[in-house]
Symmetry: C2
Subunit: 413 residues, 2 copies
């Protein structure tokens, strides 16, 4: 990628709720809105025709010579979880625009239109639901109900948050966001690997053949609470200790699956009232379980559910909530898109390897409505969702070159 | 207690950061400052001479016929942990003023001066240190250093917070708060039991012979963090799971002590970044361990410390912090003060029982500089630090009557 793109990535990183080098950019906050303006301007300065849908997915299109043909698209997201880094998602949005600019500079004329996309809220931070933009775009049948019931931790609804960010039709006109199966001829997402393999093996390009499916669980235990000094141990029903046991059970059940492709994480635990001299009377957990094998993952989810009931019964707490927030199937990439990326890598003399994505991406949902593949580039030590997340200029430039060449092949078919 | 006192308790409950029936009143916040004004006015309307020291301990004195004699005092606190109730502490402050008013109404003339006290920040909510007011008043040798280093979760120092609340000399003139051993001839604190025994046994008055000593620990684990999908299980060092193990170890080590008087609680756990799709790279715990036997409690603290090191080594996380925030010795009540309360109960025909306090109180520190005892009254199911904390008007009235009579006896000696 060119120096200019790195400036763009650095500029985007300044739209953050937390100090550098960390980046925190949560859906529909002021910094998210500022990043959206920046992306629209970036697309306009690249002479793309910009469209924004009712929930803020942003599309920049370069019209092809056959505009009635299905479009070839590339994109990712710009939102960032608390205290994350500046490359996750951003490389795929800025990179899509850069790839299109490079093709234009090279005198290329696309047959199919080419489109750069910025998806709304790939991260589940604010409303507990991941990939809101691509999920709605792909016509996920359950997403409307999920969003209608979604509130953030300040009890603000998804619709109100969208309205405040300027998306007045996010509630009433959600169905307008979905596009049909005929819209996209192919979708390619450029992304940092978020794992260590490419860097360790000295390979420039990863070609993603499958994306692991995530399941997200929301769990709540309620106990009696009380004073940390006054209530004897045998009279307690401590919701916090129930949560501690469940977090350890998630790890145990994942390891019992026997496959290294199964992973599980308890990334959120909140205790109430959360005072050092008060027994937790309420504990909320956010749990993430993934696998490239959907049924193996779902078996872990059911073991975690059974253990949550067992813990509640044994500790005399109430399992107030055990919600499967989402349980998305894994996705397979499409052969001809994989092939286009592979040929591009080979023509550019860049080493590549086939791999799976353990992290999910907007591609997980785009794969439902379009032939899809992903391009991975190395990142420092595989770090991601951390302030020290890093990709080199050279690796980003390689990714953009492969993306541009693959898009040119796909748009000519 | 009289209807008027209940109105005062209800009025105080309106100074809260959270909606009724919960009460949240944190040191030096606007609601804490409002409660302080209310208490000063209450004391003034009872014709007491009001004094406030550099950190906001408030004293209302009824001068005795021998004002050079050491004073007899009673009091408690009005701060409340998040989502607590309206009786903890408040009954002992309002009750002290009511007891003095009752004595005045009865035509009593004290020989020793009588004093009602509201102590600053008995709860450790804001700065992690309990009983700040009584600790400083009693000349705790380590408190100045603790307060000089204390910051709240917004990184505001104790001194700045005090200054903002109008206590301009809290930093420079902390030593002016301490009073000597000669100041108080006796101290009696009225309080709800915060345990179920009096209610269960139908006894009106508990007389506290000893107060369990609390130890507070601040613990922090740091791990590698990373993406919840991308990092394989065997490559993780999850700070959140280390915290979960330690919380369960606190419970285990407490139960191993073999005494029902040993209790331990992990009331605070904070994970960073705290996102569902991110492995916790940092976990902070607040742990409280108590016993009426100081050495048995300290043995549990040391076992928890050893286990924290063992967990860190096994999970490949760093034990970034293991701080004993306080480790106060238990306190014994003084016989002649116990005797005064016992005689008062008997003269009023109220059943009483000797008991220990598992919760700590400002009396734990007042006992270092004054002969001390406590009066407990029943509370609903032993609930405390909860919105449904409750004491009946009749039980409060009985407590105030016993307190008034005990104060009259002590002030005449």
């Amino acid at each position: 990628m060119y120096d200019k793109s790195n400036q763009q990535i650095d500029k985007l990183a300044t739209f953050s709720d937390t100090p550098a080098p960390s980046v925190t950019r949560i859906l529909y906050t002021d910094n998210d809105v500022a990043a959206r303006s920046f992306i629209r301007e970036l697309m306009e300065s690249a002479q793309l025709t910009v469209r924004e849908d009712a929930i803020g997915n942003i599309f920049g299109r370069w019209q092809g010579s056959e505009p009635s043909q299905a479009v070839v698209a590339s994109g990712s997201h710009t939102d960032a979880i608390p205290y994350a880094g500046k490359y996750d998602g951003v490389v795929g949005v800025v990179g899509a625009v850069e790839a299109i600019k490079a093709l234009r500079r090279a005198g290329f004329q696309p047959k199919r239109s080419l489109e750069a996309i910025m998806f709304t809220s790939e991260e589940p931070t604010r409303f507990g639901l991941s990939c809101i933009g691509s999920r709605v775009l792909a016509g996920d049948p359950r997403v409307a109900v999920s969003l209608a019931n979604a509130v953030d931790e300040d009890n603000i609804t998804f619709t109100l948050a969208a309205n405040r960010a300027g998306y007045d039709e996010a509630g009433d006109n959600l169905q307008s966001v979905a596009v049909g199966n005929e819209t996209y001829a192919a979708f390619v997402e450029l992304h940092i690997e978020q794992g260590p393999l490419l860097e360790e093996q000295g390979v420039s390009i990863g070609i993603v053949t499958a994306i692991a499916g995530p399941a997200s669980l929301g769990v709540e235990f309620a106990g009696g609470g009380g004073h940390a000094g006054a209530v004897l141990m045998h009279l307690r029903n401590d919701a916090g200790l129930a949560a501690a046991e469940l977090a350890l059970a998630v790890e145990r059940h994942v390891l019992e699956s026997g496959s290294q492709d199964t992973v599980g994480t308890t990334g959120m635990v909140k205790l109430y009232p959360g005072a050092i001299n008060s027994i937790p009377r309420n504990a909320q957990l956010g749990i993430d379980i993934r696998d490239i094998d959907g049924s193996r993952r779902d078996a872990v989810v059911e073991r975690v559910r059974a253990t949550a009931h067992e813990i509640a019964a044994r500790r005399g707490v109430v399992l107030q909530n055990f919600t499967v927030v989402n349980q998305d199937p894994p996705a397979q990439s499409t052969d001809f898109v994989i092939e286009a990326v592979k040929e591009a890598s080979e023509e550019l003399g860049l080493g590549h390897k086939m791999m799976i994505s353990r992290a999910y991406h907007d591609s997980l949902f785009m794969a439902r409505i379009a032939p899809t593949a992903m391009i991975f580039i190395p990142c420092y030590r595989g770090y991601s969702h951390r302030p020290d997340e890093h990709a080199t200029l050279e690796d980003m430039a390689n990714g953009v070159r492969v993306l541009a060449l693959a898009l040119s092949k796909l748009s000519s078919n």
